[in-house]
Symmetry: C2
Subunit: 208 residues, 2 copies
């Protein structure tokens, strides 16, 4: 039995190491995927659990072409998300420069990196995906929102705190105007910004 | 020793199951990340090993706003990629409709899903990212290129073969005009489309 326990402990430790490395920077808990009938909960779940996505702007350098870029983001402290994606961007990168010239932007996350799509292809409608379209705005550093956003970002992305000061990273947010959610067959789910930002909650404070 | 072997076998099997589920749909082999000094090899490596990304178009429905969308893609059979991303899209989805009206598009992939960024944040320049900008074009079904593209897509995304015929999925490709590659500190790597499409190869046929 000593032999069994020793090896089971080793197995357990190795599994922890592997699974730990998979969720680096993610939320400590992984709530179950909401029911496909609940579009608001599904969209908020995707934004809450993802921690990077692709942010798109209208390119200054490329004569108005759409320009997509990998970014990290956060909508709040773990389990306290607002649904609004905040970003930490520098004008050394085209995305921030583009947004300061033309605010129109969209931001996309997929269920696939969360590991809950099983064997389904990332383009299979049963593997959900979300695109938020709106205006990418600089958040005034003096506001409470900037403080909230920095806490939100630094809690999910601890290394951001140490990024070079002379790079002038600033907080941006996506002011959402339109939501495109695919989660199951039958086309995009009808979902208003109001429904997304203020989803129905149960008594325990969880999104229903 | 029997005890040890039994538990070690169990450990091995569980590790295989976990690691197997992580590489679902990926290439069978995972070549080492190229040297950051070799921009062409790094960009081709990112396109060869990723199998989904975010494709961006100019939205018809949203008055010209950028619209980003999760898509699956392939640039060729495993280890035989062309560098050109091919997509399998339906006009039931806005991306294909947008492209047929305005071809301008960009396509982004990240190193992060490949699992080689370690503990680095997805926005850390040492975790590489690639954005290809150009024209999203429908590929004529009668051409050899369409056959190549279908083989490329179906080899990486076997379930595509069974997608509903009445959804009229068609092959699209990104005709690349501009490349934005971040791979290490110091800003985007200079990389022309010519260098990307025709990288230097060694005698064994591997990208240098």
């Amino acid at each position: 039995m000593l032999c069994l326990n020793t090896n089971m402990n080793m197995l357990y430790l190795m599994l922890l190491l592997i699974l730990g490395s998979q969720v680096e920077g993610r939320l400590p808990s992984m709530p179950t995927k909401p029911d496909p009938d609940d579009a608001a909960a599904t969209a908020r779940w995707l934004v809450s659990l993802n921690f990077w996505g692709v942010l798109n702007t209208i390119s200054i350098d490329l004569g108005g072409a759409p320009f997509s870029n990998v970014v990290s983001f956060s909508d709040g402290l773990p389990n306290e998300g607002s649904g609004i994606p905040y970003f930490y961007l520098t004008t050394l990168d085209p995305t921030a420069r583009n947004a300061l010239k033309d605010e129109r932007a969209s931001f996309t996350v997929s269920e696939y990196p969360l590991g809950t799509c099983g064997k389904k292809d990332p383009e299979n409608p049963a593997c959900s995906k979300l695109s938020l379209t709106g205006k990418l705005k600089l958040v005034d550093e003096k506001t409470k929102e900037a403080k909230f956003a920095r806490n939100a970002l630094f809690s999910k992305h601890p290394e951001m705190k140490g990024w070079p000061e002379d790079h002038d990273f600033q907080v941006f947010k996506l002011e959402i105007e339109n939501i495109f959610l695919i989660d199951w067959f039958g086309g995009p789910k009808p979902l208003t910004v109001e429904q997304y930002l203020h989803p129905k909650m149960n008594n325990a404070g969880f999104i229903l």
